[in-house]
Amino acid sequence: MIPGRFTYHRPNSVGEAVKLLADLGEEARPLAGGHSLIPMMKLRLAQPEHLVDLGRIGGLKGVRSEGADILLGAMTTQAEILDSALLREKAPILQEAAQVIADPQVRYQGTIGGNVANGDPGNDMPGLMLCLDARYTLTGGKGNRQVAARDFYEAAFFTKLQPGEILTEIRFAAPTAGHGWAYEKLKRKIGDYAVAAAAVVLTMSGGKCSGASIALTNVAQTPLLAVDAAKALVGTAVDAGAIDAAAKAAIAISDPTTDTRGPVEYRRSVLGVMVRRAIARAKSRAR
C-alpha cells in the first residue's frame, strides 16, 4: 500500500523534463497519469528514486488535426479522448477502445501516452495504434525522433523508448471517410484487461473490401498486427468465408499465455471470436 521514497520533480517544459531524466538516469521515471506506475509503486514492484511529473507541461495535451493527420498529445487522458468531437467524427474506434479501458476515475487520469508507452501487453491502445499505423514522437536530449507504432514494441515491457526519452505525441492518418471500424474486447468485468481483443478498420468499395487493418491485443508479448488476417479480407465481400480465413490467420500468429482468465486454447479461441465480431461490426459500419 505504501510506496517507497522518491524525490519529486515538476518540470514546466518538455526540455526540462528530458534533461532531468537524462541527468537522474535509470532511477528516474516519468509520471504521466500515474495509473500504471503508482499502483506498481504501492506494491513496491517499482521503486524509482525520482519521479518526473509531466502533469504541468503545457503543449502535451490535446487532440487536433493537421492536414489528413490526427495528432494526440501524449498527456491527453482517456476521458478527453472520449470527449473529443474530432475523434468522434474522424476516428471513433479510439473512443470505442477508450470506453472499455478501466473505469471512469482511471480514465480521468490515465493518458494515451502512458497507455502506449510502457509496453504492457494488456493495454488496449497499443493495438489501436498498430491498426491505425500511428507514429510516436519520442523526445530526448538530442531532440525528436519518430518511431512507427508497428516497430515500437519488442517484448512485454520492452519498447524502442530509450532511457531519457519520453513519448510526447502520437500521429496517425485519419482513416478514410466512411470507413468501418470496431474494437471488440472480451473481459470479465469493467477494469479487466482483455482475454483477447481485436481492432479492425476497413473500407468497402462496390461491395468489396478495399482495405483492412487488423491488430490483436493481449494475445502475445506485444500487440500484433494481423497482416495476413487483413489480407484475407481485401478484395472479398467480407463474407463468412473471408471472415473465417481472417480469424484463422489471426489465431495463427497469436501466442497467448495461460492465466487466471483462462488457458491458452481458450484465449486463442476467443481471439477468433473477437476478430469475427469486430470484422462483422466494422463491415456494418462501413459506408
Partner: protein, 806 residues
C-alpha cells in the same frame, strides 16, 4: 385549543413500528462522511503496526534479523514469536478448539503468514521497516491438495500436535487430520441406497472464497498503564467474545477491558474471529503503554484472514423411479488450511452442515465430514451463510437437480414432489434438526407462476432446437433453487462459542419525556440495527421509533451478547428486544391502569396508548405513562421504566426461499448473461421491508460473484492466487444483474414476533440458483455437473468438450 385527535393510521405512521420501510437512522452520518470506522480513530501518541509475512507456503524459519528494521528512525519495536513467548501469546486458541500461531514459531504454514510485527511512528515508516526485516527460510514440501493430505507420505504440517492422537472433536486419523464428524443413521441410509432403484452421486466442490468486506480488518489497542485498563477498538462482529478472550489470554481482568466495535464497513463473517493483528496490536500497546493501530491491506485480508467454504462434498441421493427421495449420503472433505480457525459453535466442527437434507422430506440420511490441514490460510468462516449452510444448500440443490436429470423430470416438479409439507411442521429431519415452520409448495408455485416457468421451459426447448439449426450461438439455462437454511444460533443446549452459550440480549431504558435508549449484544456491520430494533420496540411499547436510540458494540455499556453473524440478530437479539419491550409494556399497562383508576383487565392497547375497553376516550398515551413512571407509580412499584432480557432461543429458525434464475450462455466465449433473477424469500415476520430488500440485493450479488468467478487458489508450490482485486472477482454495477424480490410470510411459531432473519438467505439460495442455471444450459447434452466458479473459460471448456465450439 385542542388539536384534533390523530387517526390510527396517522399514529401508526408516526410510530414507524414493524412492517414499515422506515428510513435508516444510521444513514445521517454515513452520507456525510462522518462514520466512525476503526481507521478513522486517532489517539495521541498512536503508533502503527504492520506485518512481515512469509513468501512461502511451508518452510522452517532459520533466522530472523530485525536489526536493520529497528535501526530505521521512527521504528519503536519489532515483535517476533520470541517476544510473545514470555506472555504465552505466540499461539492463541481458535474458535474451533485448535491453536493458531500469532507469529510464526519455528516454521510458516501458509503463504503470507505473519512472521514479525513492526511498530513505528506512522504507517509509512512501518511499511519501510517491514522491507528491512530479513528472514532466512528453509523450504519444506508444500501440501495444497486436501485429497492428498492423509496420504501416508504426506508432509506433516502441524508438528506442534503431531503426536496428539485426539483433537478437539475426537480421534485423528492422521497427523494432517483434524476431526471426523458424523451424524445421521448410517445403517438406515445404507439400506435405503442398497434397495433404491435409482441413485445419483456427484463430487460437488465448493471452492475457497473470501467474504471480502470493503473495509479490511483493523484494531486500535490502547493500554492505560496507570489505570490498568485496556481499550480496544476493532472490526469485531462479536465484541463481547473478544473481550472475554482478551481477558483470558492477557490476564487483565475482564472489567478492566473495554472492547468497542465502532462502525464496521461490512463483515460477512470475515470479522468474527480473532486475528494475529489484533493480538499483536494489543500486546504492543500493553508493552509500550501507547495506543497501537493495525490496519491490513487488501492483499493481507484476502490471503491471510479467514477464508470461506473449501468443501468437497461427495453427495448421493437414493430415490424411487418416480422421484420420491429415499435417502441421502454425503461425505465432505473439509480443507481448513494450516489451523482450524473455523468460526463455528463449539460442538459443531462442520457447522450446521446437517441441514443438507434441505427442504425435502428425506427419511434416511447420513453425513460424514473429515477436516484436514493444508498449507493454506486458516479458517473457514461463514461468508454470509450461517455455519456451513451455504455448502449444504449447494450440495442438496445440486444433487436434486442431478436426480431430476437422471429421472428426466423437471427440477421444479421433483422439488414439489419431495417438499416437507406444511402439515409436517415442526419437522424433525433425519439429521436431527427440528424445522420450525414452512409453506414450501406455496412459495414454489408463486415463484414459478411469477416468472412464467412453463413458458421459460418451452422457450428453452425452442432455443435448443434453434442452436442445433445454427440460428443462435446461445444456450439458455433455467436454475431453480429452493433452500431452507438454519440460522439464529442458538439454543444453549447445543450452541456455545468457547463455552459461552449463544443467547443474546436487550436492555431498554425509557426516559421521562417518552424517549428511550436500547442496547444489544449484537453488532451491525450494515444491517440497519439502529433502525430495526427501534421498530420492534415501537410496536411493542407505543414509543415512536424516532424517539428510540439504539446502541451496540461497546462492551462497557452493551449487555453481553454473542454478536452478529449467521443471521442471528433478529432471531435471538430481536427476540430479546421484543421480550424486554413487552416487560416495559406490562409495567406501563399497570401504570396506565393506576392513572386511569381502572383494573388492568379493563385496558386495551391501541398503537401508542392504553384505553379503557369500550370507552376509548378514557385513555393515557404511552408518552404520559413514561412521565408518570418517574413520579406517579402504583404503591409498591419501583419508579422508572426499564427492562433487560437475555434470550436463550428454544430452537433455531428456518427461513426459506424459492429462487429462479435464467441465463443465456454465449457458447463461443463461455460468458453467461443473467437474463432474469427472481428471489422469493420467507423470513417470517418482516420488520422493515426496505431493509430486507436491501439485504436480498446484497446477498444475491455476493452469490453471483461466488458462483460466477470468485476463487482463491493455491498453486503446487503453495503460492496463493486471486488475492488482489485485480483477480478476485467482485462485480461492479455493470456486471451485477437486476434483482426481482418477492416474499411470503410464514412466521416462526417459537419466536416472540415470528421473525426468522434474512441477511444470509440470498447467498445461501443464490449460489445454487446461479450454478443450477449454468449447468441446466448443458443438461440436454448429458452434462450432470460443472464445478464452480462458472468463469467464462470453464463454461467454454465444457462447451468445447461437447463439440459445441466452432
Amino acid at each position: 385549543m385542542n388539536a384534533p385527535t390523530p387517526t390510527r393510521a396517522e399514529r401508526e405512521a408516526a410510530l414507524k413500528g414493524m412492517g414499515f420501510s422506515r428510513r435508516r437512522t444510521e444513514d445521517a452520518r454515513f452520507i456525510q462522511g462522518k462514520g466512525n470506522y476503526v481507521d478513522d480513530i486517532k489517539l495521541p501518541g498512536m503508533l502503527f503496526g504492520d506485518f512481515v509475512r512469509s513468501p512461502y507456503g511451508h518452510a522452517r524459519i532459520k533466522k530472523i534479523d530485525v536489526s536493520k528494521a529497528t535501526a530505521l528512525p521512527g521504528v519503536v519495536a519489532v515483535l517476533t514469536a520470541e517476544e510473545l513467548k514470555p506472555v504465552k501469546l505466540h499461539w492463541m486458541p481458535t474458535l474451533a478448539g485448535d491453536v493458531q500461531m500469532v507469529l510464526a514459531d519455528g516454521k510458516v504454514l501458509f503463504a503470507n503468514q505473519e512472521v514479525a510485527f513492526v511498530v513505528a511512528q506512522d504507517r509509512y515508516i512501518a511499511a519501510d521497516a517491514v522491507e528491512l526485516v530479513e528472514v532466512e527460510y528453509e523450504l519444506l514440501p508444500p501440501l495444497v491438495d486436501p485429497f492428498k493430505s492423509m496420504a501416508p507420505d504426506a508432509p506433516v504440517l502441524r508438528e506442534d500436535i503431531k503426536d496428539k492422537k485426539d483433537g478437539a472433536h475426537g480421534p485423528r486419523k492422521h497427523p494432517n487430520h483434524i476431526f471426523e464428524w458424523t451424524i445421521g443413521d448410517k445403517a438406515a441410509a445404507d439400506k435405503a441406497f442398497a434397495e433404491a432403484p435409482v441413485t445419483v452421486k456427484e463430487l460437488i466442490s465448493y471452492q475457497r472464497v473470501h467474504p471480502m468486506p470493503l473495509e479490511t480488518c483493523a484494531s486500535l489497542a490502547s493500554m492505560d498503564k496507570i489505570k490498568g485498563e485496556l481499550t480496544v477498538w476493532g472490526t469485531f462482529q462479536a465484541p463481547h467474545v473478544v473481550r472475554t478472550v482478551a481477558a483470558i489470554l492477557s490476564g487483565i481482568p475482564e472489567h478492566k477491558i473495554r472492547v468497542i466495535s465502532p462502525d464496521i464497513g461490512g463483515g460477512f463473517g470475515n470479522k468474527v474471529g480473532v486475528y494475529p493483528g489484533y493480538v499483536c496490536s494489543i500486546v504492543a500497546s500493553i508493552v509500550l503503554g501507547v495506543p497501537v493501530k493495525w490496519v491490513e491491506d487488501r492483499l493481507e485480508n484476502l490471503s491471510a484472514t479467514a477464508f470461506a467454504r473449501d468443501y468437497h462434498m461427495t453427495t448421493e441421493l437414493a430415490a424411487t423411479k418416480d422421484g420420491k427421495i429415499l435417502g441421502l449420503r454425503c461425505h465432505v472433505l473439509a480443507d481448513h488450511g494450516a489451523f482450524d480457525a473455523c468460526a463455528d459453535p463449539t460442538k459443531w466442527p462442520a457447522g450446521f452442515f446437517n441441514i443438507v437434507t434441505g427442504s425435502y422430506d428425506i427419511p434416511a440420511a447420513h453425513v460424514a465430514v473429515d477436516g484436514v490441514y493444508t498449507n493454506k490460510a486458516p479458517g473457514g468462516v461463514a461468508y454470509r451463510c450461517s455455519f456451513r449452510v451455504t455448502e449444504a444448500a449447494y450440495a442438496i440443490e445440486r444433487i436434486v437437480d442431478v436426480l431430476a436429470q437422471k429421472l428426466n423430470m423437471d427440477p421444479a416438479e421433483l422439488r414439489l414432489k419431495n417438499f416437507i409439507q406444511p402439515q409436517q411442521f415442526p419437522y424433525k429431519s433425519a439429521l436431527g434438526w427440528e424445522y420450525d415452520s414452512g409453506e414450501y409448495p406455496t412459495a414454489m408455485k408463486k415463484a414459478m407462476e411469477t416468472v412464467g416457468y412453463q413458458a421459460l421451459r418451452a422457450e428453452q426447448a425452442q432455443k435448443r432446437e434453434a442452436f442445433k439449426r445454427g440460428e443462435t450461438r446461445e444456450l439458455m439455462g433455467i436454475g431453480v433453487a429452493f433452500f431452507t437454511e438454519i440460522v439464529g444460533a442458538g439454543p444453549s443446549r447445543n450452541c456455545d462459542i468457547l463455552g459461552i452459550a449463544m443467547f443474546d440480549s436487550a436492555e431498554i431504558r425509557v426516559h421521562p419525556t417518552g424517549a428511550a435508549i436500547a442496547r444489544f449484544g449484537t453488532k451491525s456491520q450494515g444491517q440497519a440495527h439502529e433502525t430495526t430494533y427501534a421498530q420492534i420496540i415501537a410496536t411493542e411499547t407505543g414509543i415512536p421509533a424516532d424517539l428510540i436510540a439504539v446502541e451496540e458494540g461497546d462492551t462497557s455499556t452493551a449487555p453481553y451478547g454473542l454478536g452478529t453473524y449467521g443471521s442471528r440478530s433478529t432471531p435471538v437479539a430481536g427476540a430479546a428486544c421484543a421480550r424486554a419491550a413487552r416487560k416495559i409494556h406490562a409495567k406501563a399497562k399497570k401504570i396506565a391502569a393506576h392513572l386511569l383508576e381502572v383494573s388492568e383487565n379493563d385496558l386495551e392497547f391501541d398503537v401508542d396508548r392504553f384505553q379503557v375497553k369500550g370507552l376509548p376516550e378514557k385513555m393515557k398515551t404511552m408518552k404520559e405513562v413514561c412521565w408518570a413512571a418517574y413520579n406517579n407509580v402504583p404503591a409498591g412499584m419501583e419508579p422508572g421504566l426499564e427492562a433487560v432480557d437475555y434470550y436463550d432461543p428454544p430452537n433455531m429458525t428456518y427461513p426459506f426461499g424459492a429462487y429462479i434464475c435464467v441465463v443465456d450462455i454465449d457458447v463461443d466465449t463461455g460468458s453467461a448473461k443473467v437474463r432474469r433473477f427472481y428471489a422469493l424469500d420467507d423470513c417470517g415476520t418482516r420488520i422493515n421491508p426496505m431493509v430486507i430488500e436491501g439485504q436480498v440485493h446484497g446477498g444475491l450479488t455476493e452469490a453471483f460473484a461466488i458462483a460466477m468467478g470468485q476463487e482463491i487458489s493455491y498453486d503446487a508450490t503453495g503460492n496463493v492466487q486471486g488475492v488482489t482485486l485485480m483477480d478476485y472477482f467482485v462485480p461492479t454495477a455493470v456486471e451485477t444483474p437486476v434483482w426481482e424480490t418477492d416474499h411470503t410470510v410464514t412466521p416462526s411459531p417459537h419466536h416472540p414476533i415470528g421473525a426468522k432473519g434474512v441477511g444470509e438467505s440470498p447467498n445461501v439460495g443464490g449460489v445454487p440458483a446461479f450454478s443450477n442455471a449454468v449447468i441446466d444450459a448443458f443438461k440436454h447434452l448429458g452434462v450432470t455437473h460443472m464445478q464452480m466458479p462458472h468463469d467464462a473459460w470453464r463454461v467454454w471448456k465444457t462447451a468445447e468438450k461437447l463439440g459445441l465450439v466452432k
